[in-house]
């Protein structure tokens, strides 16, 4: 158990952008909201999963919708707490803690805001181990926790309680509700026991985000290559392997907001001996990187575009023509690479007609 500091928040904003693999929304806004709560004297405590009693009730909280909407339509701040309270009322039980469903992007910070506003601790773990665009793409779901009942709330406090026959249908209905709510809404779902958290969550991913941010920051301060420093740190974590898969200049970015998602692609012309053009397909997150049709990295392994000089992770909404970038790919933990997991959030889950090949085996 420990309290989150301001420096942790700053580091997490960077690390969560990295784990967001282009999506998940800019954690900056989430960080500001948590900071504003801290300015009012509120605190945030994070718990190791082992510190959660087996019979405790844990309710994940999150934002859902298009990141391009979030950077423009900032939340009122009360939405996620309202979803959690409504779900507690429906279940007839109080939550012991909240937990992220997603450690990449802004969703690493929403539970921290909920923790600050309600006093509930936040479990240091999540259900995606990165960012994904759909709510059934959760290790929680793959390992048998049900997403429903779920609550979706907007800035007016309008809310919908959803009971769906499966998590994919829950995603489909809530996505429609979210579009009606303006393309970004705030949710509580996958209520579970402490025992389920220990069995189904990807552990210590909040602290991983903080570590990544700290590693990049310290490398820059000491004039070490931040990307090399990061790649050297990874073997020490559940994310055991990473490498640089491209260097180049962004020559085209195409984006559209369709059905509540940010769809598109980025094309990156190689420099420094990287010959050809890498095309990265995006559905909120970077899903697959190809050069001349050949796959260089594929979901669920992480594909992160970073500014070449400063090693800042660049999220999809900030990708621009002319940027010089480095593309890094990282292996996800074994629990995210099982056949059952790949069925849900491997290439097939995104209708990509390519087999999953671990990044360690791609050249």
């Amino acid at each position: 158990m420990r309290q989150i500091t301001r420096q942790d928040l700053m580091d997490l904003a960077v690390g969560a952008a990295f784990l967001g693999t282009g999506g998940g929304g800019d954690p900056y806004i989430g960080r500001l909201m948590v900071q504003a709560a801290m300015d009012e004297g509120k605190t945030v405590t994070i718990l190791d999963p082992s510190e959660v009693p087996d019979d405790a009730l844990v309710i994940p909280t999150a934002m859902m919708g298009a990141p391009t909407v979030l950077v423009e339509k900032i939340p009122s701040g009360d939405e996620a707490v309202a979803s959690l309270r409504r779900l507690e009322a429906h279940l007839g039980r109080k939550a012991f803690a909240t937990i992220p469903i997603e450690c990449g992007g802004i969703n690493s910070t929403i539970p921290l805001l909920v923790g600050a506003l309600t006093g509930l601790p936040v479990v240091d773990a999540d259900g995606m181990g990165r960012a994904f665009p759909e709510l059934q793409m959760e290790t929680f779901s793959v390992l048998g926790v049900r997403g429903s009942p779920m609550v979706v709330t907007n800035e007016y406090g309008d809310s919908a309680l959803i009971e769906a026959r499966d998590d994919k249908f829950m995603e489909w209905i809530s996505r429609g509700v979210t579009i009606r709510m303006g393309g970004a809404a705030y949710i509580a779902e996958y209520s579970m026991s402490g025992a389920d958290v220990k069995r189904t969550a990807v552990p210590n991913t909040l602290s991983l985000g903080i570590r990544i941010g700290r590693c990049l920051r310290e490398a820059k301060t000491n004039h070490k290559n931040p990307i090399e420093a990061l790649l050297q740190m990874l073997p020490d974590t559940l994310y055991s392997y990473g490498k640089v898969i491209w260097r180049g200049k962004v020559i085209d970015v195409r984006r559209e907001t369709k059905m509540g998602w940010a769809l598109g692609f980025a094309r990156i012309e190689g420099v420094d001996g990287w010959k050809g053009t890498m095309e990265i397909q995006i559905q909120n997150e970077n899903l697959i990187a190809r050069v001349d049709g050949k796959v260089r990295a594929i979901v669920p392994d992480l594909i992160c575009i970073m500014e070449a000089e400063t090693a800042e992770p660049i999220t999809t909404e900030y990708l621009r023509y002319g940027q010089r970038v480095v593309v890094v790919s990282v292996a996800v933990p074994p629990m995210m690479r099982t056949p059952e997991a790949l069925e849900v959030f491997g290439p097939k889950g995104f209708h990509i007609n390519e087999p999953y090949t671990p990044i360690e085996q791609l050249t």
């Binding site: 909407v69 009122s76 701040g77 009360d78 303006g182 004039h223 023509y321 010089r324």
Partner: protein, 513 residues
């Protein structure tokens, strides 16, 4: 022939150029009304080079006036920061994450009202017109003269900001309005920040532009004049009066492009030391490295496309305190030649230190004879340490890199820097900024909604690119030099015909006739 002018916080520099050749340059202190300094420097320049006003084909002016005003929190007017978006956005009110002193300088007049749009153009809430009229009353009562209006998703539809502007103009007839959809792009907080900063500068903008106009008129220079903006291209003066914020960071862009030209180096660190601040940036392929994500101006986050520059409070007019251990961030600015000790004043500045150390012979050296050797040594150490730390912070690898020193305050650095492979003082370095302004390019921009249905995105982009190039040529660019530098499209899902908002920017060299 063309003239480049840099109106800095301390000095006004002018250079006369024929192509890439410097024919002459002059420097004079910036005056409270900037036109006096410009008239003086141009009169000297023209008489020295024996060039007649009629032979001048274009005048390019770069100014750090607006950036300095923000950095120093001076000459800013108080702003009513009006946001349309409730009940959304309440968690982070206007001026969130601003430095406390700047937020105070613009008055912390924050108003949040119902309104704003969704991504698809629907209203989050109808504009709260009654609420806005109450805000107007408050503005009148507090005698606020400028307002910034920022509405959620106004880059998709600016109608609500325009309607709010009409109401405010009705209620407060003299108010000067800045509307966010005319200033920034998607990214609400950054756009709102830029809009508030624009609003706090409008009075200054009118004063400065009319001073420029008066100066050129007095010298009978009939050639068109332009003002450089943050991406290194030129803007018409009437545009600057309304959008002074677009000149932010034009100083660093000009001085870095000037430094690259003068030193003949394309990969280097550039330290531009002015009177008030030092701007440190990195040259890559002869152009400033751009900031990737967001840029802090005076501690405020914005999303302009700008060179990545670190400004530190070290300049030729910076105040020296604590026996030399503390320098700046405040500066005597344009009053250097009256307030610095070597000029007969009573304020100890960095310029006094380099004179006392015998490194420069400026003003009256006898006036700084009394300074102790230890104070001089400590102050020199502090100055070099500040420059070194700034270079070190902006470097992206531990590899040594050449450092080009430019600007009138380059005299402050006389030793090597631990972070530099070598320190270069190129010729004309004290007017690099004016040289960069003189070689600035002209841009053409297209920013409007196109229908993609019945054609392809590439075909539509080609049309937009051609239009932007045509506009650059119409604005005075040499057709053979025009290049597309920025392409951005934002699809608008709510409009029929697969509509998309496309923004394309083309730039080229100014054609000399």
């Amino acid at each position: 022939m063309r003239i480049g002018i840099d109106v800095g916080g301390t000095n006004t520099d002018a250079v006369l150029m024929n192509g890439l050749d410097v024919l002459g340059w002059r420097k004079t202190p910036t005056t409270p009304d900037v036109s006096d300094g410009i008239v003086k420097v141009l009169r000297n320049l023209l008489s020295e080079t024996r060039v007649s006003a009629a032979d001048v084909q274009a005048v390019m002016i770069g100014t750090t006036h607006f950036t300095n005003a923000i950095v120093e929190r001076r000459r800013l007017v108080e702003v009513a920061a009006i946001r349309l978006g409730l009940p959304a956005t309440r968690s982070l009110p206007p001026l969130t994450d601003w430095p406390a002193d700047l937020a105070s300088a613009v008055g912390r007049h924050r108003y949040m009202l119902k309104g704003g749009n969704e991504f698809d153009g629907r209203e989050i809430a109808p504009l709260d017109e009654l609420g806005l009229r109450d805000v107007a009353k408050d503005i009148r009562r507090k005698r606020i003269t400028a307002a910034a209006i920022s509405s959620v998703f106004s880059p998709v539809t600016g109608d609500m900001e325009k309607r709010a502007a009409e109401i405010l103009a009705e209620e407060v007839p003299d108010i000067r309005l800045s509307l966010s959809h005319e200033i920034g792009r998607i990214g609400f907080l950054e756009r709102e920040n830029a809009t508030v900063m624009n609003a706090c500068l409008v009075d200054l903008a009118f004063a400065v532009v009319s001073s420029f106009r008066r100066a050129l008129h007095e010298l009978k220079i009939a050639a068109p004049f332009f003002i450089s903006q943050n991406d290194g291209t030129l803007m018409a003066p009437q545009h600057v009066e309304r959008y002074p914020v677009l000149t932010f960071a034009s100083g660093p862009t000009n001085s870095m492009r000037g430094a690259a030209l003068l030193a003949g180096l394309k990969e280097a660190m550039v330290v531009d030391i002015g009177g008030t601040t030092s701007d440190v940036g990195m040259l890559m392929h002869g152009f400033p490295r751009e900031a990737a994500v967001s840029v802090d101006i005076g501690g405020v986050r914005t999303n302009f496309r700008m060179p990545d520059v670190l400004a530190v409070g070290l300049g030729g007019g910076s105040l020296v305190r604590d026996e030399g251990a503390r320098i700046g961030p405040d500066s005597v600015g344009y009053e250097l030649t009256s307030r610095a000790m070597v000029f007969g004043g009573d304020t100890l500045t960095t310029t006094d230190i380099v004179v006392a150390a015998g490194l420069q012979d400026i003003g009256d050296r006898s006036r700084v004879k009394h300074l102790s050797a230890s104070l001089i040594e400590t102050a020199l150490d502090t100055m070099h340490h500040m420059a070194d730390i700034a270079v070190d912070r902006m470097k992206t690898s531990a590899e040594p890199m050449p450092v080009i020193l430019v600007g009138g305050g380059a005299i402050l650095v006389s030793r090597g820097l631990p972070s530099a492979s070598k320190v270069v003082h190129p010729p004309y370095s004290s007017v690099a900024n004016a040289i960069g302004a003189a070689v600035a390019q002209v841009g053409g921009e297209v920013d409007r909604v196109f229908a993609v249905e019945g054609t392809t995105r590439d075909a539509v982009l080609d049309v937009a690119k051609r239009e932007a190039s045509d506009r650059a040529v119409a604005a005075g660019a040499d057709e053979s030099s025009v290049k597309i530098v920025d392409v951005e499209d934002v699809p608008l899902a709510y409009l029929p015909g697969n509509a998309t908002r496309i923004r394309v920017k083309a730039v080229g060299d100014l054609l000399m006739r």
